[in-house]
């Protein structure tokens, strides 16, 4: 939906807490009952419109009735007025894309897509846009909370806090397992996988599941998010999935992260899942599982792009172009002889700058260092620092290259404790 033009007078604004508990009146102004909740429809583009009201009719306490938005003439602080004098009640049937503002959104957690964090809705702001009331924002600050804590008369004196625009918020579908529905979260796909992983770690299990489900159609993104999750949350989210689903996810993940996750799986499940993998990833995962996690062999990724020494620059660039590895794994092209023995490396930038007809061996860094699979962190870090490397080759006893350790693998371990956000009372150190 287009934002209202600047020349138009600012729209009327209301706060949810001023409507809830207010009177339901008919067209003549007679009080019929109380407003309990507002229903909005998500899913469409733009700000979600109010589609109906849950009300308690005077004298019928304990039973909630539904009033569709079409029957409502006006919404004002403390009163919702019907179009007719006659009350026409219907049973409420919740549709898949509808949420109850008080029951599901107010006081609950929402995803703030811009800040990539979870916020709690202290107050909900409604505005009259395009002729009808819509949810436009949520107050997540202390002021919104204070306004609702105090009696209404005092609350009016406190200025409203900062509202987060609804355009950058995604609500969860609510904590009612029996009516759990598939709410799409289109805004999530804009976020970085690492940020989504942080959200999953911060959210409750069901909310985390919902976030991952929302990514369901985008298997690659989901795999990227899983690579960033910590082990506990990975396992938590895999518990409900079949072995085949887990294998499918593993196949999409980077082999080293997939191997890490395999190692975390309960022993009785591990073999079943690995057996379901396709030939190539299965071999890689099995090979990686044999190495010590604290050493180069356990940290490395077995995926890299390599060329024989006879190759030309054009050949090497073509290999990079055809490769399906992620960008960061392609910054370096590795060179070996015809017996697959490691010779050295060429930076991608050097290839791009060089004459396409030239031979890679002319560009190759001589006696480039390499690591044994048994090298520990200190050794890896020192080698990378000394030679200004972002990636280092790992070679076996016959000097055949078996993998690459990239700088991010090492950074993750060497970062001081506490730099990573930790959540929860008993969170790991």
């Amino acid at each position: 939906m287009p934002a209202p033009a600047a020349t138009v007078a600012p729209p009327e604004v209301l706060h949810l807490s001023l409507i809830l508990g207010g009177a339901l009146r008919d067209a003549d102004g007679t009080r019929l009952g109380r407003v309990d909740d507002l229903i909005v429809r998500l899913g469409g583009a733009g700000y979600p419109p109010i589609t109906g009201f849950l009300v308690t009719i005077a004298g019928r306490t304990g039973r909630r009735s539904y009033v569709p938005a079409e029957r409502v003439a006006a919404i004002a602080p403390g009163a919702v007025t019907l179009t007719k004098a006659k009350l026409d009640l219907r049973p409420f049937q919740r549709r898949g894309d509808e949420v109850l503002l008080r029951h599901d959104v107010l006081d609950h957690q929402l995803i703030n897509v811009e800040g990539a964090r979870l916020v709690r809705a202290n107050e909900i702001e409604l505005a009259r846009l395009d002729g009808w009331w819509r949810v436009v924002g949520v107050d997540t600050g202390a002021r919104g909370g204070l306004r609702r804590l105090l009696p209404k008369r005092l609350a009016g004196r406190i200025a409203t806090g900062d509202f987060v625009d609804w355009a950058s918020l995604e609500p969860f579908s609510g904590d009612v397992p029996s009516v759990r529905m598939r709410v799409l979260h289109p805004k999530l796909a804009r976020m970085h996988p690492a940020d989504i992983a942080d959200l999953v770690e911060a959210a409750s299990r069901d909310e985390g599941e919902e976030i991952l489900q929302a990514l369901g159609d985008d298997g690659e993104l989901e795999a990227d998010v899983f690579e960033e999750l910590d082990a506990r949350h990975q396992l938590e989210q895999l518990e409900g999935r079949s072995d085949a689903e887990v294998a499918e996810l593993l196949a999409r993940m980077a082999p080293d992260d997939a191997a890490d996750l395999c190692a975390e799986l309960p022993a009785e499940r591990r073999e079943a899942v690995i057996d379901l993998l396709a030939e190539a990833p299965r071999r890689k995962v099995r090979a990686l599982l044999g190495f010590d996690p604290a050493e180069a062999g356990g940290l490395m990724s077995p995926d890299f792009v390599s060329v024989y020494r006879q190759a030309t620059v054009a050949d090497a660039l073509e290999r990079v172009r055809r490769s399906r590895l992620p960008d960061e794994m392609l910054a370096t092209v590795w060179v070996m002889d015809q017996h697959h023995r490691f010779l050295g490396s060429v930076a991608l930038a050097a290839l791009v700058r060089a004459d396409p007809e030239a031979s890679v061996i002319e560009l190759e860094v001589d006696d480039a260092p390499h690591l044994s699979p048994r090298a520990d962190f200190e050794e890896i870090a020192r080698l990378m620092a000394d030679y200004n490397l972002t990636a280092a080759a790992v070679c076996d006893a016959e000097e055949r290259m078996i993998g690459v350790v990239t700088v991010d693998d090492v950074l993750e371990v060497l970062l001081p404790k506490g730099w990573r956000r930790r959540f929860g009372l008993l969170g790991e150190d």
Partner: protein, 419 residues
């Protein structure tokens, strides 16, 4: 050097979870009831009334087990903490009210635990004005710097001397016939002092923060519906175990102090005398070490648990790993609790035991509010589905709420009307 690595074949849960797996949050939470305030209250009960209140301990254990079980199950089913559920189901006003009660109760316990630190080191002749600031600073650094896990382990080891109570109780040769009789036949006194002590006993055994802690811990463990049975068993087992220790404190003091005519405990040194049949002249040392460990553990856990509850219910940024500018309210509240509690505990001539028992009375008064929410939430079908509390479990939980509320109201009436 052992680096912590993202890696293959490290233990399935990190070391702290292995450790907690042995003890379990159910056990830790319930045992936290046996902190400085708990020990003072149970000792006072034993000294004043001998074994005659043991029947109450039995009833309280049933309530505690069911309440803890409910909290553990809610954590496993919903994956959310107790404060969070209250906020989401009952709105910000109820949530703020419940949080305020927790804040008041926990502040009291925090003070009592710093008093416990002072009293424990006081046995070694170190004045509270020296020991409490050092302990407070240490705890603050440990929490804010985040190496709290290893400290927790040390604290827990320090509480092991309290397992001397069962041995001391047996060595004191209590009249087992009387003990058994008191366990099943209720004796009721009609004095306000009795009522006060009864409420303190309920308050220290079923402390609100135990449910908050347990539920958050179960969530943090990543327990699911599949773990429901083990979580339930652990919560119940932990409660029974903790209360057996508590009962032995009453028996040990009843068999020594009460029998020898000491009907009131004025200081930690008095309370330590209950351990004499076991430890002889080392009774004070043993008691001091145990009291120090129990107090330090609780004094470290309480500010964290409280800050979590406040942050969860009011929607502030939270997390021990956060820096001050990331979570100012969270870290600020922890700091304020430690500083204020420490300052109160340093007041010279503070009447240790009566302060400790008094705090438990306040806890007992506020207990029904927290229990009410546990009861309502655990039986909520929308939230808990087929795992909700039903039948006898629900009834006993409701009865616990009703009885604790009645007791609290009576106490308020007695105090206000001066009966």
């Amino acid at each position: 050097m052992r680096l912590q690595v993202r890696g293959r074949f490290r233990p399935r849960r990190s070391r702290i979870f292995v450790f907690l797996g042995l003890l379990g949050p159910g056990l830790i939470a319930a045992n936290a009831g046996n902190d400085a305030g708990g020990i003072a209250t149970y000792s006072e009960v034993g000294a004043k009334y001998g074994y005659t209140l043991l029947w109450a301990m039995l009833l309280i254990t049933v309530s505690l087990a069911l309440v803890q079980r409910s909290a553990g199950r809610m954590g496993a089913v919903t994956g959310k903490g107790l404060s969070e559920l209250i906020r989401e189901r009952y709105g910000i006003r109820w949530s703020a009210f419940a949080t305020l009660c927790v804040l008041v109760a926990n502040f009291g316990i925090c003070i009592s635990d710093f008093v416990g630190v002072g009293a424990a080191l006081g046995l070694a002749g170190i004045p509270a004005q020296v020991s409490v600031p050092i302990a407070g600073l240490g705890i603050w650094l440990v929490i804010v710097r985040g190496s709290y896990r290893s400290a927790e382990r040390v604290f827990i080891w320090l509480t092991i001397p309290f397992f001397a109570y069962p041995i001391a109780a047996i060595l004191a040769h209590p009249d087992w016939g009387k003990v058994g009789h008191s366990l099943v036949v209720p004796t009721v006194h009609t004095s306000p002092a009795f009522l006060l002590l009864f409420i303190a006993m309920a308050g220290t055994t079923i402390t609100p923060y135990m449910q908050l802690y347990l539920q958050s811990a179960v969530v943090e463990r990543g327990a699911t519906v599949a773990d429901l049975k083990s979580e339930s068993n652990e919560a119940v087992g932990g409660s029974i175990f903790a209360d057996i220790v508590a009962a032995f404190i009453i028996i040990a003091t009843g068999a020594t102090l009460y029998v020898h005519g000491t009907h009131s405990i004025g200081s930690a040194a008095d309370a330590a005398k209950a351990l004499e049949p076991f430890a002889g002249r080392y009774a004070e040392l043993l008691f001091g070490i145990g009291l120090l460990g129990a107090s330090l553990l609780a004094a470290a856990i309480l500010p964290i648990a409280t800050s979590y509850a406040v942050a969860e219910s009011l929607g502030f940024e939270k997390g021990i790993g956060r820096r001050r500018d990331e979570a100012p309210v969270f870290i600020g509240l922890i700091t304020v609790m430690i500083v204020v509690s420490g300052l109160v505990a340093m007041v010279p001539g503070v009447p240790v035991i009566s302060l400790l028992v008094g705090v438990q009375v306040v806890n007992g008064l506020l207990l029904p509010i927290n229990l009410f929410f546990v009861w309502r939430l655990a039986r909520n079908e929308e939230l808990m589905g087929e795992h909700r509390n039903k039948g006898a479990v629900d009834w006993v939980t409701a009865a616990t709420v009703a009885i604790t509320s009645t007791l609290s109201l009576i106490l308020v009436a007695v105090t206000v009307l001066g009966l």
